[in-house]
């Protein structure tokens, strides 16, 4: 959700050494599944990663394994970004939560944005037993936890309920960014976020 990857070049590596096949496959999968959906072909992934067919099956056991692992990494990075965004906003819970909504609002309005990768994966992976579903569930639990903690610190009377509301708002914001970007969803969402979070020192 939080950023876009073009390749291994602009990752924070100290050396410019080309990473191994496993790494290149994960990066290619992050890129291609976002632009083409999880339905991308194995051949396209291999070509984009510049990796031999065999390496995929050695490292991930198959396409599903790669998809699941790529989702795992992506969620970890996004949760970390949520955390960083909050920390950069200071200590005040209201400001921390609003910072996340504002950041997502900016992302959703980016002309290259086309939807939440995790929701898209859940909707596209018809098989409920696909390992990817477990990853996205864990992701949502983690974000919900992040929100709940802030509401608790805020002394909110129903922290989990408020976190549910914020999560609904975020999903709606991302959906609107993907399908109705001309409606300027960031502004509409922010106002709702303020209502959920309640007015405080920063607002």
């Amino acid at each position: 959700m939080f950023y876009r990857v073009k390749g291994w070049h602009n990752r924070g590596m100290t050396t410019s050494a080309k990473p191994g096949p496993r790494e290149r496959l994960l990066l290619a999968a992050q890129e291609l599944t976002y632009t083409q959906g999880v339905g991308v072909g194995v051949d396209a992934l291999l070509k984009a990663a510049g990796v031999a067919r065999r390496s995929l099956y050695e490292h991930f056991g198959g396409k599903d394994g790669l998809i699941a692992e790529m989702l795992r990494r992506s969620t970890a990075e996004d949760v970390e970004q949520y955390r960083r965004t909050m920390d950069e906003a200071g200590d005040e819970p209201r400001a921390r939560l609003l910072a996340v909504v504002d950041r997502l609002g900016r992302i959703a309005c980016d002309p290259h944005f086309h939807g939440c990768r995790y929701l898209a994966a859940d909707l596209a992976l018809a098989d409920p037993a696909h390992p990817g579903h477990e990853v996205t569930r864990a992701y949502r639990r983690a974000v919900h936890r992040l929100f709940t903690d802030e509401f608790t610190a805020l002394g909110h009377e129903r922290p989990e309920f408020a976190a549910d509301q914020l999560l609904i708002l975020v999903d709606g914001l991302l959906a609107a960014g993907a399908t109705r970007p001309e409606s300027r969803p960031a502004a509409a969402s922010r106002e709702l976020a303020v209502h959920i979070i309640g007015s405080g020192p920063r607002d």
Copy 2:
């Protein structure tokens, strides 16, 4: 969004005559694209519809044509259902809008629900030129219009902005129903809806 179709049997037909191939294809597509996604194979559609391969290409020109036409019909039915739900709620704009949110809340909590078909289609159809996108855009415009009219009747100072908010809320509600049904998204959404709509005679 609003209902589930199992086949032509339970449609409001006066005769029990089996509909033609075109009709059966549309019904099969509505059913299968919802459960399997728009990626379903042509063979599966033909088998479910009990229709010869040739009929598909005669009536719709190809799979994309069938998908687009099925979305067209689906959106028409859903918009009609929005209207009916509002009308059944009476004349009071607040009550009419809340009735829609409540109805969608019930649908999103149905154990068989697995996401908004139109958002899923937009996320799954990677090609931005696919005719289906135009259909879903029109659908969202229509619903936005429906909402805007009610806010206008309500004397709301920013009817379009409020409609945008309600649309974001609805998308979030449906996403939550698909991915976090255990969080009881209907209750959380209703409270937000009440905030957007404002308290009135019915609330």
